[in-house]
Subunit: 310 residues, 2 copies
C-alpha cells in the first residue's frame, strides 16, 4: 500500500487529503458540501472526487489502503452515523455506503474524534498513546485516544465532554437542553459569559465595560493587566480545570491537548487551568502533560488517514 | 492452548483460578498473601502454587495460554505497578517479574479493572463491549471496558471514578485529600453520611434516629416506607446518577454494571439514580442500560483469565 485518503467532511466544504502511508501529504483539495436533497449528493461527490484523483495520478486500487472520513455527527465503531443534523443526514451506515460508491475500504468516525487522532499522530500529542483532545471553540468538543485508537463509545458520543455537568445553579440553558454544562463556561462563548458575570459583580473599571467584547479581547486585556479581565480569565481557568479534571479522573490520559479558538491565547491557558485541575483531579492522574494543538484544520485529514495506518 | 490461570491478588488471600479457554472453571483455590518483607514473597508463592497445580494435573507449559493477574493498585498497560500500598509494593514491572518466576506469559491489571473485564465477559455486562463497572463498597471503584478491553490509563488510574469532583461545599475531606469526591456520597459509607445529613435536616421521626445504622439499614427502611430513609435514598440516588452521568458523558458506554455492597439493594437502585442520571447526562448518552454485577468475588479470576482469551 502506498496511499491513503483522509476526508474531513464539514458543513460547507469537504477537505480531502491524499497521503502516502508515512503520513506525508501528497495533495490536499476541497469540494463543496452539497447539502440539498437530504444530503444525498455528499457521498457520491466524495467518491467521484477520489476516483478522479486516482485516475489523474494513475493510482491503482491496490495501492490505496483505504478512505478514512470524519463526520460532523455521532459515528460508532462500526461506521453507523446516528445523525448529522447539519448535513441533513439521519441514521445510516456510512462505511458501507461510501464503500459501495468508492470501491475502496472505508473507515469513519466523528470529526472531533478523528481530529484528535490526527493531533495524536502528527500534532500536539505526537509520541503519546493515551490522549485527551479538547477543542475550545463555539462549543467544547473532545476526542479521546486510548492506546492509539479512538474511543468511539457505544453510540458515537465518546469524548463529547462539553456536556459534563459542572455547575448546579446555572439559570441559562445549554444548547443540549441541560443547565450548567462544561461548555457553557469553557467554550469561547462561555468565556464571554463568564467575563460578563465577573464584570457585573465588580465595581472596577475595565476596558471590557466600554466594548462589545469577544473571547480574544478578554485574554488580550488580561495580558495587559486589566483587572477585571485578569479575574475573568482566572474564573475561566477554574471552570476549564474542573471539567478537565473530571475527564482525566475517568480516563487517566498521558497528555491533554487543547485546540480551538480559545487556545490561541497560548500557554497562559495552562497556568490558568492548572490550579483548579490539580485541586479537583484524582491524585493518581495529576501528572498529566498539557500541550497546544498544532495541526489546525489539517487535523481532520491526518486523523482520517491514520485510521488506515498502523 | 487448553488452559489459562486467573489470579485475584488481595490483601489477605490470593485467589487462583484454573480455567479452560472457554472460561469454564476447572479449579479455584486460595493461598495466603504473605505481606512481610516488602511483599517479596507474594509473587514467588503465586508462581509456586501455579507450577504445583500444573504438575498435579499433568499440564504442560504449551497447554497454558498464560497467567492473568489483578493487583490492588495502579497498573499500566505494560504491567508496571505504580504502587500497591496494602502489599508493601512500590514501583516495578509485575509482568516481567512474575514471568521470570512462573515461566509463562503474564498480563496484569488493576483489580477493579480486571473485575470489570470479568463482569463484561461472564457477568452483568455479558454481550456488551463498551461497559462501565462501578463498585459501590467502602469506596467507589470503577473499571472501564472499551471495545472489549480494559482502559488502563497512562498510569493505571483509568476508571478510578470515585474521585470525580461532585460537590463544591463539602467540608469533610475524602481519603484522597480532596473535598466533594463522588465516593464521599455514592459509597456505602457515603450513603450513611448522606442519610445522617438528611436526618439532621428533618423533623420527621424515623427508625434511623434510634439506631447506629449502616448502609443496608437505610435501604431496608426505605423499602418499608420510612420517610427519612426514603428521602435519604433519593438523595443518594441523586448523587449516584450525577457521578455516573459525568463518566458516561465522557466514555458513552452501552451498559453500566453496578456491584459492591450497596448494589445488594437490587434494582431499586436504578429507579433511584435514573432521574438525576437522565437530567445530567449528555443527551447522546441517555440510552444506556443498567445492570447488577453477577459474579461477586469470582469477577477477578474471570477477568484475569480473560486477558488471555480473545
Amino acid at each position: 500500500m502506498k496511499y491513503v485518503f483522509g476526508v474531513d467532511l464539514g458543513g460547507t466544504t469537504v477537505k480531502i487529503g491524499l497521503l502516502d502511508n508515512y503520513g506525508n501529504k501528497q495533495e490536499v483539495w476541497e469540494i463543496p458540501t452539497r447539502k440539498g436533497d437530504g444530503g444525498s449528493h455528499i457521498l457520491p461527490d466524495i467518491a467521484e472526487a477520489i476516483r478522479d484523483k486516482m485516475k489523474e495520478k494513475n493510482i491503482d486500487d491496490a495501492d490505496v489502503a483505504g478512505v478514512g472520513i470524519g463526520v460532523p455527527g455521532a459515528v460508532d465503531g462500526n461506521g453507523n452515523v446516528m445523525q448529522a443534523v447539519n448535513l441533513g443526514w439521519g441514521k445510516f451506515n456510512i462505511r458501507d455506503e461510501l464503500h459501495s460508491l468508492v470501491k475502496l475500504p472505508v473507515k469513519a468516525g466523528n470529526d472531533a474524534n478523528v481530529a484528535a487522532l490526527g493531533e495524536c499522530w502528527k500534532g500536539g500529542g505526537k509520541g503519546y498513546k493515551d490522549m485527551l483532545m479538547v477543542t475550545l471553540g463555539t462549543g467544547v468538543g473532545g476526542g479521546i485516544i486510548v492506546d492509539g485508537k479512538i474511543l468511539n463509545g457505544a453510540t458515537g458520543s465518546g469524548g463529547e465532554i462539553g456536556h459534563i455537568h459542572l455547575q448546579d445553579d446555572e439559570v441559562e440553558a445549554c444548547g443540549c437542553g441541560n443547565h450548567g454544562c462544561f461548555e457553557q463556561y469553557a467554550s469561547a462563548t462561555g468565556a464571554v459569559r463568564v467575563a460578563k458575570r465577573v464584570l457585573e459583580a465588580s465595581d472596577a473599571d475595565s476596558k471590557l465595560r466600554h466594548m462589545d467584547f469577544e473571547c480574544k479581547d478578554i485574554f488580550d486585556l488580561a495580558k495587559e493587566g486589566d483587572e477585571v479581565a485578569v479575574e475573568a480569565t482566572k474564573k475561566y481557568g477554574d471552570y476549564l480545570g474542573r471539567g478537565l479534571a473530571a475527564v482525566a479522573s475517568t480516563i487517566n490520559p498521558e497528555i491533554i491537548v487543547l485546540g480551538g479558538g480559545v487556545s490561541k491565547c497560548g500557554e497562559m491557558l495552562f497556568d490558568l487551568l492548572k490550579p483548579s485541575y490539580e485541586k479537583y483531579v484524582f491524585p493518581g492522574c495529576k501528572d498529566v502533560k498539557f500541550a497546544l494543538a498544532e495541526l489546525g484544520n489539517d487535523a481532520g485529514i491526518f486523523g482520517a488517514a491514520k485510521m488506515f495506518i498502523d
